[in-house]
């Protein structure tokens, strides 16, 4: 039986390297997947431009952040990007409405097949991607400022006397809090407000919603506004937490879609659960358990191997595997999504 101190050390280690990053990443994915799923529920297509729209919103936020920093505005311990975020959201909303007006609306009026919309979203993806790279370049950008940590590993060690430190980054705290607020808001909106109910009705049964006098244009507009805002926020939180690079954002498409599908596409609750499922799977599978094991195992079982199930480079493979398993076992996802 390992000593209590070692067990605590193992626990702290796990919390610090799996739990906290998992919750953070999961929240980011959940917000992204929520956007995808809303678009899917109302407009009935998978928006492949999502990752690049996310990059667009983040880019605008970064540019405004830089400008704010240059004129000496700051939020003290909080990142300046929070002040710039509303601009990013507004720009993303405008972009989405613009795209809808000049691209998707036509196909709606033609009653095109979903795959035509998907194809159009590829075109949009190219254009937005090119635009983002043209404006801010293809390189890594960091735009975090303010206090880095809420709890520092060193202070935690001093406080508790444990070997292992527990650090909580400001960005992690912010991500979780903002995600929580947004999720509550989205559900309140969908369940309680007139526009939210109209969105659900339209998603459930388009013809009947028209017969009830629901204005489809308004529903579509509301959906884009919400999806765009969620997307921009998800992008900025991810960028603050890690860093901003257009290509990384494009690659986020896979875990985001996996989250939406695993949860049940078109289902807001599913998107959130899916986000955390994907994030935790990635963390748990790619974490090297060596130290964790050595704390808990008796002396004769100590190991020098990494005890890593899969190296970090393959984290995309994890979301993919989960996706495949879910599609095999339960094609509708955890919360029955729309599969037709």
């Amino acid at each position: 039986m390992p000593e209590t101190v070692d067990m605590l050390n193992a626990l702290v280690l796990f919390t610090n390297f799996v739990l906290i990053p998992g919750v953070t990443y999961g929240s980011q994915l959940a917000l992204g997947a929520l956007g995808v799923t809303l678009i899917y529920a109302v407009l009935r297509f998978s928006n492949f431009a999502h990752g690049d729209i996310m990059a667009f919103g983040t880019m605008i936020t970064i540019l405004v952040t830089w400008w704010l920093q240059s004129v000496g505005v700051s939020l003290g311990p909080l990142p300046t990007a929070l002040l710039a975020l509303p601009f990013g959201i507004a720009a993303t909303v405008l972009l989405c409405l613009f795209i809808d007006r000049y691209v998707y609306r036509y196909y709606r009026s033609q009653k095109s097949r979903p795959v035509t919309f998907v194809m159009a979203s590829l075109g949009v993806m190219f254009m937005v991607n090119g635009l983002v790279r043209f404006i801010i370049g293809a390189d890594d950008q960091r735009f975090f400022d303010g206090e880095r940590f809420i709890i520092k590993a060193r202070e935690f060690k001093k406080m508790t006397g444990l070997n292992e430190g527990l650090a909580i980054k400001t960005t992690q705290g912010l991500t979780v809090v903002i995600a929580l607020v947004l999720v509550v808001f989205v559900f309140w909106f969908l369940q309680r407000t007139r526009s939210g109910k109209a969105m659900r009705a339209y998603s459930d049964n388009e013809d009947l919603s028209l017969l009830s006098g629901i204005d489809p244009d308004k529903v579509v507009r509301t959906t884009w506004i919400m999806a765009a805002a969620l997307t921009a926020i998800a992008g900025v939180l991810y960028g603050l937490d890690k860093s901003f690079k257009p290509f990384t954002y494009f690659q986020l498409l896979l875990p985001i879609f996996a989250a939406a599908i695993v949860g049940g596409i078109g289902q807001p609750v599913g998107a959130i659960v899916g986000g955390y499922v994907i994030a935790f799977s990635e963390m748990i599978v790619t974490y090297p358990y060596k130290k964790f094991w050595n704390y808990l195992a008796p002396d004769e079982w100590q190991t020098s191997s990494l005890l890593q199930l899969l190296s970090t480079e393959y984290k995309f493979a994890v979301s993919f595997m989960i996706l495949v398993i879910v599609l095999l076992v339960r094609p509708t996802g955890i919360f029955k999504g729309k599969v037709y």
């Binding site: 109910k197 659900r200 049964n205 013809d207 009947l208 028209l210 017969l211 006098g213």
Partner: protein, 233 residues
Amino acid sequence: MFLIGENLRGGYGGADILNDCTIGVDQGEIAVIVGPNGAGKSTAMKAMLGMLDLSAGQVSLNGKDITTLSPQARVAEGIAFVPQTNNVFVSMTVEENLEMGAFLRRDDIAATRDMVFELFPILKEKRRQPAGELSGGQRQQVAVGRALMTSPSVLMLDEPTAGVSPIVMDELFDRILEVRAAGVAILMVEQNARQALNIADRGYVLVTGENRFTDTGEALLANPDVRRSFIGG
């Protein structure tokens, strides 16, 4: 008449399905459209709703020409429609379904909702359940209830009793009679011609998109030609 479609002619792009057919209903009255399969019964109703391109004829509501209005605009004018299938929001609760029915109304809908609950007590009991979890007959009640929430002057039903048991059918017809008593004009398309004509003040027998017989429900039921060809004995 309160709602009337006169000399309607039209179809879905191909050959005309409606050939000079006239259908109407007055307030506090039930009009039923019957006829063999493919006679254009549902099409006639869709024409009244504006879901069909008409090449000739006109539709008027309370003396006002509504031929060119979109289906949504007609809903706003007081016409409510219950489609034959997919007529409830399956993922929303019964209460939300009713609320969506009243989407265009900005006034207090509580009174109308209570009236619907009074008409269909089972809905009050199941108000918090998603409509998708209800039985076929209950769903049909939700569908009618949703349509009534606009406080319509005209209620159109497309085969409301398709696929429900005879008991539920009688029950539903009873409720429809109650709705009529409130002064609503009711226009139905029905497969179960005998039962429908029984409660009808006005009956239309359509064949190949034109009126074959037009009379009161009672008279049509008594007419031997109608009985032989369309009711079966």
